[in-house]
């Protein structure tokens, strides 16, 4: 399943997504400095780090919400560096944004419809939505309810479901467990496992280090806009610096 078990590979070779020396920021403020990262097909990769490290910025650069000021982004051999967001979804990258960002005054069903806006996704709307409802039976009962009136956990299901509607090859998830009760957090991570088993490639940003390392194959540690560490989850779990700073052991 995981494309590569040693975590060492020359950049770009066979990877689904490659970021090479990406820098990005907001106005004159630089949030990312020469970030390089890669995701192989079928892998689940974590990006962890403290608040303000630039994790969400990284996700925004990948999905085209934010332009990189320098560096290169390659997805399945196609350069995507200056491609607008709506073309990046077309290429097969879906982004579950930070804070869910549902359309609160649209129903659950309409939120899923928007997720299938692309012509290639519209054609498969019925089967895709059935699949999403099977994944989240809760949403089927609530499909005519306004998304803004759902509980936090249910909203996260809609956000993930909405992203899955475009049948992406790569799913970006930005802190899917944020603001949820511990029990619901467990459910979200179970869900990530299930999505992986369906064959999706996942890049997930999390604060919840312990739990995310249980789900992903490899992870990158981002600090003040730079990659500090990367490696297999098992190794990172044992890394004393990480244990001290992030797991609190």
């Amino acid at each position: 399943m995981a494309a590569d078990q040693n975590g060492q590979r020359s950049l770009g070779e066979g990877a689904m997504l490659t970021l090479c020396n990406i820098s990005a920021g907001y106005g004159s403020f630089r949030a990312l400095f020469d970030v390089s990262l890669e995701v192989g097909a079928g892998e689940a990769i974590g990006v962890v780090g403290p608040n303000g490290a630039g994790k969400s910025t990284l996700m925004r650069v990948i999905s085209g919400m934010l332009r990189a000021s320098s560096g290169e982004l390659v997805f399945e051999g196609r350069p995507l560096t200056h491609v607008p967001a709506h073309r990046i979804v077309e290429a097969g990258i879906a982004h579950v944004p930070e804070h869910r960002r549902l359309f609160a005054r649209l129903t659950v069903e309409e939120n899923l419809r928007i997720g299938a806006f692309l012509p290639q996704a519209r054609r498969h709307y019925v089967e895709r939505s059935e699949w999403v409802y099977a994944l989240f039976p809760r949403l089927l009962e609530r499909r005519r309810q306004l998304a803004g009136t759902l509980s936090g956990g249910e909203q996260q299901m809609v956000a993930i479901g909405r992203a899955l509607m475009s049948k992406p090859k790569l799913l970006l998830m930005d802190e899917p467990s944020a603001g949820l009760a511990p029990l619901v957090v467990d459910q979200v991570f179970d869900l990530v496992r299930r999505i992986r088993e369906e064959g999706y490639t996942v890049l997930i940003v999390e604060q919840n280090l312990q739990q995310v390392l249980d789900v992903v194959d490899r992870a990158y540690l981002l600090e003040v806009g730079r990659i500090r560490l990367s490696g297999l989850s098992a190794e990172l779990k044992k890394n004393p610096a990480i244990r001290k700073a992030y797991i609190g052991l």
């Binding site: 999905s63 919400m65 982004h95 649209l106």
Partner: protein, 284 residues
Amino acid sequence: MDIYLFEAIINGILLGGVLALLALGLNLIFGVIDVVWICYAELVMCGMYMIFWLHSFFGWPILLASFAAILGVAGLGVLLHLLVISPILGSAPINQLLATGGMLFFLQSLATLLFGTDFRNIGVRLPLIELGDIFISYSRLLAFGTALIGAVALYLFLSRTYLGIAMRAIAQDREIMGLMGVDQRRVYLITSAVGGALAGLAACLLVLQYDVHPFIGLSFGPITFMICVLGGLGNMIGGFIAAFVMSQIIAVGGYYFSIEISYVLAFVFFIVLMFIRPQGLLAR
């Protein structure tokens, strides 16, 4: 009940249809693009001139001329967006108001320059319908029916189609529309075209009842804005209802007093309501 009062009420409902159409168009533009087309009624004026010239001068059949005007004003809407709105999309709302407000004077002056201040009539006279003792203007009935069909079509479009749902979504969160695969610029252009088409449709209906002149926009522009604000700017259903409330005030006020007084009443009603419910009748 007094038969004339009844007739006034009927006429009020019929007038409301066209006003509702204009309010829908303006609310659609505002809801999706987040700008107010101050010159909206002037687009209607352009449409009325189009029909006038195509029908009275070039001799096109009225239906064909109307259809051409709808397309023409839709095109004007797209041009307005590309030339005026799009370059200042990110700037302060006051600048956008000034720009579209400037277009109002530009269009009025252009029409004066090109066509003079003559009142022009397309000379299509539709009969009156006699229902017992009540007379109903056929052109108003037609306007009402068409406006209603237009409103229902817009409702179905916004609630059933992918593009329509995206238009409702875009007002709630612009930034992430790209993540949904939606090209914002394309949606804005289509919205401008639909908004223009609604103004064109209103022009077809109004040209049957009123003479065209460069300042005709002033007769229903201000009232349309009041209706939109009354219904809650951007709120389609609110605007639709407010259109009928306002048109009743005008029609029934006109019956009891005079048509001038009735407009004063409508303005007073608007101002008083703005004090009581500044967010509009049906604010969301």
